[in-house]
Assembly symmetry: C2
Homo-oligomer: 534 residues x 2
């Protein structure tokens, strides 16, 4: 964490320098037709305002506890737009009173025992990359507790077992993406789960938030890779049996996948892994309209093709990522395999996209027995942008620009009206609040029964009033996507930000069941209060 | 139900005639090395002993209620071995007091209201094909209720909506397999979910029991096809949102998939459907040993191939289904696609199986643009046997032979020891109880992290003492597969038969959560008592 930015995404050394911020300002002006982007002075760590702690860890936990202000500030927020804004202002009022770093499941249990007994809210903390307020107890709720502890699981980063026969590993929940991939790489294996937060987020966080990976189809969600989990709850340890599949009652692991720290602390998991892919085939295809591209993407998945990438970028998204500047929509298609040539799959995909009016813009690029993805053309441009995007969002905040994303999924029959309603709601809200801005859309995932559209909006920030503006825009788009039949989140999780819409999306009686589950597992109600249920 | 056998599998007209029973007796003698199979007199319906009902439906439910003894007898049991034995004896002591057939979700709610108020146990009933005691309240538990109602959902068989764009349909839970496929066929669609019970079991039953379909990989489990469900609980209706995917908290539908009637009555579901496959490629491959075949099956799925069929038959299973008589193991491999030629996939699969010592015995058979599966060779022989097997089990009971199956899943690293332990336990138990018999194994499903082995055991019945013998064998094999790291059920469900091992397999705290869920949704505890939790 030493190198981690106190307020911005990721590490300090990767934050764009002034020259890059100036280029970004020029680009923001161009994209939004006149945003007043100016380089604001960057916050200094020494100006961070961190409140005095209300509670201290007991002596029994002293060895794993930290009350150091910088450490607490680093655990104050996730990395949502409002988090960046507050961090940029030096506002760390939400900092926990203490950071606990247990090194074992027994240590986690000891932390939960203390929190339950002392009525200290306990917030499990992985990479701190939540974009939905997942790691911050709301101000109006903190008073109900003696204090707040951030339970940082970074020490649980052991690769305990490798089962090469079953292609599965038992790994600690605290592994960050790159460290886990390095450890697996020594065995020629990969988890092949690449959320955009990959560099900083953790295995436990992925499971707790039902993270979505980078790949468009096939095994990509963390759900797909979980073979079994171990979670520590205030009432004891839960360990599900290692099984490739089971039909024995409702799937137990499913209660904790997506439980967001409210029903237990995931300490380790058996994860399905893979050999590294060696065969690849990719192309990019242009369409006159986003809808034409959407119909082509639908045709691919309904034909039973399983592209690793099937990312449709609308014209604004193409502009944003400099993939195409001519007002077309672009579909990036790629296939990967550990075992066999993907040329035939791509050839069939290209037949289908041509049937839907697509024109191949680059590729096909076929890689056999390669080590790395073909990074050529639009796909390569886009991939770099994917990894850097969170840094850019932080940099935009630092030049007075509001930039955020939201994502969802809906069935194909609704998509056309859904997309129009959501885009209109976003544009209207931007116009109403800040005079206008850019709204862009891409598909991150496609399913036979519907796409997962992912939206980006960019507009001028109203400096000093950023949070109110953002709340209005976020509220408007959330309302629109709920009303139009989407889900409030396909892979960003619920956290605290999405709770009002989640509460309406979820069947009321399932809410009652979750409350009963919470009461059963966490009788003192100390685990991540405000998440999932009240 | 008019034509349904009171005691045996399926319909009366399909029950093997005396000539067929004689052939079966000869085969049983051959397979088991001397079972004393003799044609016992078949039971007559008029000899069925059905107790007087303890409770009657109120006037408000009279239009949907039946207290007719034959109707009640048809709802007394599933079709497990002990069910067949008791039915064969004319023992219908387990018959419910009343059969209710609501025609709508509101009707289901009215039934639950009465049952809750009158403390009548309510057993949701689909096709009555449970092989795990799923539809019968245990004798020692009936006294705690004023009576038992069987809630037969057969009237909920409407295809409400077809969404051709998203390839999804909204269908009533009471649809039996053939009727649902006929209704879908009119739209050129198929659910493509074929459990062995397909002809008699229902959509709602498949969801409630997490049914496994016939296909070895890819979408095959009912879990894969559920887009959303509607269930009626004593506390109201639960409807999950139609979504291709969501990351919003723990998946709500997962609480009801596998809930076995204990947490609500599934009345309808949005199901993902498909266009009918037109491309097929298949072959059968012989191996010297079961383990060699298992390693080949593992190689196929770990290579990312997704065969529709990847069914490994051990030598005894080959004998049983007359697929091969030379002591080899046979792997049936087939690929299917709605869109593109499966020849290349099969070609690669055959390279892989040859690398593992397999010899192609028949095929490859390639079908393009065909309407029906290539039914040639061992695969065709096997498919017919698959559909007829439940009839044969009933017929075996009628000639004094004990025959049953059990199934599981385990990770690949355990498979060799697992298979040896389970087979030995089954053979020992047969030897101990009835002097010996046949134990056969096949893989029904294969996953990258493990297979789903499915076992058949056949031995002489100790007439008059069938149930005690069966309990001893069933207990021994269940104990062995639990101890060796498998699941007590991969797709037969838990019911009442598997409860002791399920209770040990499931994390204790998850059991507590299920109890809390049950208390929340079914406060009077009337729904299928004895299933999942106490």
């Amino acid at each position: 964490m030493a190198n981690r930015s106190l307020w911005a995404w990721g590490t300090v050394d990767r934050f764009p320098d002034d020259a890059a911020r100036r280029r970004l300002a020029g680009m923001a002006r161009m994209l939004t037709g006149g945003v007043e982007a100016t380089l604001l002075p960057l916050p200094r760590d020494e100006d961070a305002r961190v409140p005095e702690p209300r509670v201290a860890a007991p002596a029994s936990l002293a060895a794993m506890a930290s009350a150091e202000p910088r450490d607490r500030a680093l655990h104050a927020h996730g990395r949502a737009y409002p988090d960046l804004v507050r961090g940029f202002r030096g506002d760390f009022a939400a900092a926990p009173d203490v950071v606990l770093r247990p090194a074992s499941a027994a240590g986690v249990a000891a932390c939960l025992d203390w929190c339950s007994a002392a009525h200290v809210a306990c917030v499990p903390f992985g990479g701190g990359t939540s974009v939905v307020g997942g790691v911050e107890v709301a101000a109006d709720r903190r008073g109900a507790f003696a204090g707040v502890a951030s339970l940082d699981l970074e020490r649980l980063d052991t690769l305990h077992e490798v089962d090469a026969a079953s292609l599965a590993v038992r790994a600690g929940a605290g592994f960050r993406g790159p460290a886990l991939e390095r450890a697996l790489g020594e065995h020629g294996l990969t988890l092949r789960h690449y959320p955009q937060s990959f560099e900083h987020s953790t295995l436990g966080g992925w499971i707790a938030t039902r993270a979505g990976g980078h790949f468009a189809t096939g095994p990509t969600h963390i759900d797909d890779f979980v073979e079994s989990i171990t979670a520590v709850t205030p009432r004891g340890v839960v360990s599900t049996r290692r099984l490739p599949a089971s039909g024995a009652g409702p799937a137990p692991e499913r209660l904790w996948i997506g439980s967001e720290g409210a029903l237990g602390v995931i300490t380790e998991a058996w994860m399905r892994v893979q050999h590294k892919p060696r065969f690849r085939a990719s192309a990019s295809v242009k369409f006159k309209t986003t809808l034409a591209g959407a119909m082509a993407a639908r045709a691919l998945v309904q034909a039973g093709l399983r592209p690793a990438n099937c990312r449709l970028l609308d014209p604004a998204e193409c502009l944003l990522h400099q993939v195409a500047l001519d007002g077309t929509a672009v579909l990036l298609v790629a296939f990967e395999s550990v075992d066999h040539d993907q040329g035939p799959a791509l050839a069939r995909a290209l037949e289908l996209v041509r049937d839907h009016g697509g024109a191949v813009a680059s590729g096909p690029t076929i890689v056999t027995e390669g080590d790395e993805a073909g990074g050529a053309g639009e796909a390569g441009t886009w991939k770099k942008a994917f990894v850097d995007a969170p840094y850019l969002q932080s940099a935009l905040v630092s030049i007075g620009v509001m930039a955020d994303t939201f994502e969802t999924a809906c069935t194909w029959d609704r998509f056309d009206a859904f997309h129009a309603a959501v885009t209109t709601a976003a544009q209207d809200a931007l116009r109403r609040t800040v005079g206008g801005g850019l709204v862009a859309c891409r598909f991150t995932h496609v399913y036979p029964d519907g796409p997962a559209p992912y939206y980006t909006f960019i507009g001028p920030a109203r400096v000093g009033d950023e949070l109110a503006v953002w709340r209005e825009v976020k509220g408007a788009v959330s309302e629109a996507l709920h009303a139009a039949g989407g889900t409030i989140t396909h892979h960003h999780a619920v956290g605290r930000t999405h709770r009002p819409w989640y509460d309406r999306e979820r069947p009321a009686l399932f809410g009652d069941v979750l409350r009963a589950a919470k009461q059963t597992l966490d009788p003192a109600g100390i685990l991540n209060p405000g998440v999932l249920v009240d």
